[in-house]
């Protein structure tokens, strides 16, 4: 085994025992690989586990005692490669994969984390688990069976999850005599299916997981093909999408190491942050400067995604878990209502109007699924109307949260556009969601108030109103808005600040409050549209105490200026 495999260029050159190796050299050779997350999907029994076992075996990532154990379990026959990943007793008994297994191998420059997922429809939730973080996917198709419903489901989920690279392994070629026409017919069929799913690259391979054709080694039996699956994996460009996207940092916790200092912990979800950067907090809209990027091994001048760091700010602004830091000019969306794609993962079907929790980054908010736009029919591949989503269904929905979400569209940012749905009654994770758009329409909140606007105005002496304030990002804007708020309050107006959060502004205005929103010039038009649609009176003013009269007048009149 070793002799054959050592021919393989993907394998490490064996270090010479006894030769002096410096720590630095070791770290450069073995500690600085690129990380590639790979997922293997496809219908039940198409050979996923066998293919991964073969890949591990031929990349020399299995140790002698592991191989010996599998040889024993294969009972004298040819090695059953699927046993390297099917690690649960029930899996070995039934000969199927139930839950995702993660295995690791290295190629020349990469550490690969490979997720072996179950093909069985009942365990689609585990397939989605394995696929969610993947940079590349391999989808298997049994050469005798062709594209099945589960193949389509997996392809769709992989596409929705935004996996950029897809390899189509037409497997069990040994059972169709390595027939080129069969390969080409099936390849064409899969390519038609995947062409609308948004992959950056799709490549087909004729393979046999049990015989080892075109996986890590070229095969004489299908000489008309030209690239091994491993060579394709090796050649994939390194994924740097998160590094290149705008800066996002979702606050996980606020640390107070001592009375003077406060640090925000979190991960640079995307982009880069540098010491001295002006940052805007969402949803509050407060601004601050990054005074410190702290790590145990020393402060950094900058941090790129996806490092975990702790940020110190120059001013003591109000921050809590789930707030998102970004650069002015490239802010995330702030909204309580979104349109999203869902993969439903629970036996209990989706219930419109049931109270769920949405966890998006570190932020968890109660939410309702207001309506189901449609469900994907996996036979016709058409969008059909639906009253509910059942386990393993894929659909599009409108979600309305009781507090604002801070997010990006999933297609722009995988780290900040993803969420899970949790049922607070069972604590189960019931769905995976990908945000498509913020929904800025009317009535996106679950407020079925019985107290009318007139009654409120009568009680409070003024109407509810949103005030769009200028200069929201200027250094002293927070002080000036606070000054205005204070002055209004002194003069008998119920006023409150909402930062950037227009959803909150709308909700407050509906309750009769004068909501002060800091909206930069760039966000103005969108804000106006939203307020117009929601039929909320608003006015625009300077963020200054002097604006008090303008605001008072508008609040008394209660009509949009």
């Amino acid at each position: 085994m070793v002799a054959i495999i050592s021919q393989d260029p993907a394998r490490e050159p064996a270090p010479v025992p006894g030769a002096a190796v410096t720590p630095a050299a070791l770290l450069v050779t073995h500690g600085e690989r690129e990380l590639l997350r790979l997922v293997v999907v496809g219908s039940v029994d198409d050979g996923k586990s066998t293919l991964i076992g073969r890949l591990l075996y031929e990349c020399d990532s299995l140790l002698d005692d592991q191989v010996a154990a599998v040889e024993r379990a294969s009972r004298g026959g040819a090695i059953d490669f699927s046993l390297f990943t099917d690690g649960l007793l029930a899996e070995r008994e039934q000969g199927i994969t139930i839950d995702v297994a993660y295995r690791y191998f290295t190629t020349g420059r990469r550490k690969v984390i490979v997720a072996d997922t179950p093909g069985h429809v009942q365990y689609t939730r585990n397939m989605a688990t394995g696929a969610s973080t993947a940079d590349a996917a391999v989808i298997l198709v049994d050469a005798r069976q062709g594209v099945l419903q589960q193949t389509r489901r997996h392809a769709h989920i992989a596409g929705l999850l935004g996996i950029p690279y897809l390899a189509v392994a037409i497997n069990k070629m040994d059972l169709v005599d390595y027939d080129r026409a069969t390969f080409e017919r099936l390849s064409a069929e899969v390519l038609t299916l995947t062409s609308r799913l948004g992959f950056a690259e799709v490549r087909c391979f004729p393979v046999s997981a049990t015989q080892g054709d075109w996986i890590t080694k070229p095969s004489e039996r299908a000489p008309w093909h030209d690239q091994t699956l491993l060579a394709w994996l090796e050649a994939l460009p390194h994924q740097r999408r998160q590094e290149l996207a705008p800066f996002r940092f979702a606050v996980q916790q606020v640390l107070r190491p001592n009375i003077d200092e406060r640090l925000l912990t979190g991960r640079v979800a995307s982009g880069t942050v540098r010491k001295g950067d002006r940052v805007v907090l969402s949803p509050s809209g407060r601004t601050a400067t990054v005074a410190r990027i702290a790590t145990l091994t020393g402060d950094l001048a900058e941090a790129r995604a996806p490092l975990s760091v702790a940020l110190g700010l120059d001013v003591d602004v109000d921050v809590s878990r789930g707030d998102v830091l970004a650069h002015a000019g490239a802010l995330p969306e702030v909204s309580g209502a979104v349109d999203a794609s869902l993969v439903w993962l629970n036996e209990a079907p989706l219930a419109v109007g049931h109270r769920y929790l949405i966890k998006c980054g570190p932020r968890t908010v109660p939410a309702y699924i207001e309506r189901i736009h449609h469900r994907l029919d996996l036979e016709s591949l058409r969008e059909v109307s639906a009253q509910s989503l059942e386990a393993n269904d894929i659909g599009e929905v409108r979600i309305s949260a009781t507090r604002s979400l801070v997010f990006d569209r999933y297609r722009d940012n995988r780290a900040t556009g993803a969420f899970v749905v949790i049922d607070p009654e069972t604590n189960a994770t019931v769905a995976a969601g990908m945000i498509r758009e913020p929904y800025l329409g009317e009535g996106s909140h679950h407020f079925y108030s019985r107290v009318g606007a007139e009654a409120r105005a009568k009680r409070l002496g003024h109407h509810g109103l949103v005030v769009l304030l200028d200069g929201g990002l200027a250094a002293d804007a927070a002080d000036r808005i606070a000054g205005l708020e204070h002055e209004l309050f002194r003069r008998g107006v119920v006023a409150a600040q909402v930062g950037l959060d227009l959803e909150a502004a709308v909700a407050l205005a509906k309750a009769g409050v004068v909501a002060l929103a800091a909206v930069a010039a760039t966000g103005r038009e969108r804000a106006r549209e939203l307020l117009r649609a929601a039929r909320i009176p608003w006015t625009e003013a300077e963020a200054a105490e002097d604006s008090v009269d303008v605001v008072l007048l508008a609040a008394r009149q209660g009509v949009a200026s």
Binding site: V21, A24, L26, E34, D64, K111, L300, P362, V420, I422
Partner: protein, 315 residues
């Protein structure tokens, strides 16, 4: 150590075209540790003194720096660890000023359950699994952070990062919560808990490379030295103290050995080795063809033994 700091430059963008996989594994682990502290009300860090625990402790210090650790360490002690492990543990605790809870299943020890007279299943269940469940219950911990890795064993390869345990502390591999992206569901009801594995995606090699890079101290038993050992089941068992029960004809002889995993000394197999530094150890490991658990006597009781133990609540 100029060469070491050179490799640290991967922290300083610009100097490197990409973050190394070690940087990414570290960032992921730190995020998981923070998420645990934020989502659960009473977490504890399982500290078993081995290399993985040392790495986990180091990552936890990084996660909460410059604040102190927001949770205590828990050592589930069987009373049969190597003497050097206890010394090392106490030195670490003293140096870092962290809070350590040591818990033993006193009833089992009083009953005289020991690794010689009892099968490894009975012994492990009483002194580890039971002791752990007792400790979690006693202190009301709702999250236990552990340094276990998916590459250790086939059933571990199946486990979630946030791995749910019912009120009996049991794992049901068929009903694991979906776990997508890095969005972890840490919600539990009273009595239920989550086992959290921040180092799920690390391999043994990653652990040693990281120890090398970060200069993390580990128990000297990992390095080759002359130690009194006897041959058993194809491995070397060290006679660490006078309680070692020798079989007829056995006499400890000095051999240059080291341990790949550390546990109870009568159950931890050593390998012959010349590696006395982390780099030598890594170099040796790159040519080794045996998995680290091959030296553990407890995993070989039956096929699927680890899965059964885990279902019952073993770490």
């Amino acid at each position: 150590m100029a060469e070491l700091s050179a490799s640290h430059a991967s922290q300083t963008p610009g100097a490197h075209p990409h973050h190394s996989h070690l940087d990414l594994l570290e960032a992921e682990a730190i995020a998981i540790l923070r998420e645990t502290a934020a989502e659960l009300s009473n977490p504890v860090l399982m500290y078993s003194i081995g290399k993985d625990s040392q790495v986990l402790l180091h990552l936890a210090r990084k996660a909460f720096y410059p604040a102190p650790l927001p949770f205590p360490l828990l050592h589930v002690d069987t009373g049969w660890k190597f003497r050097e492990m206890y010394q090392f543990r106490d030195a670490v605790v003293a140096e870092l000023g962290v809070r350590l809870i040591v818990h033993r299943n006193q009833r089992a020890l009083d009953e005289g359950i020991n690794p010689f007279d009892y099968s490894s299943q009975v012994y492990t269940h009483a002194t580890k699994t039971q002791a752990l469940l007792e400790a979690l219950k006693l202190h009301g911990f709702d999250a236990a952070l552990g340094g276990a890795r998916r590459d250790e064993e086939r059933s571990r390869a199946k486990e979630r990062v946030f791995s749910f345990r019912d009120a009996q502390g049991q794992w049901d591999p068929r009903r694991q919560r979906p776990e997508l992206w890095d969005v972890y569901n840490g919600r539990v009801r009273a009595g239920e808990s989550i086992r959290v594995f921040p180092m799920s995606n690390w391999t043994e090699l990653d652990v040693w490379l990281y120890i090398l890079r970060e200069r993390i101290p580990v128990v000297p038993l990992y390095f080759a030295a002359s130690r009194p050992v006897v041959a058993r089941s194809g491995t070397w068992i060290m006679a660490d103290d006078e309680r070692m029960r020798l079989r007829p004809g056995e006499a400890p002889e000095p051999r240059r050995v080291r341990f790949r995993t550390l546990g109870c000394y009568p159950l931890s197999g050593a390998i012959e080795s010349e590696a006395t530094t982390v780099s030598e150890l890594i170099t040796e490991m790159l040519t080794s063809r045996r998995s680290e658990r091959a030296g553990r006597l407890i995993d070989f009781d039956e096929d699927g033994s680890m899965e059964s133990k885990k279902r019952e609540g073993y770490f």
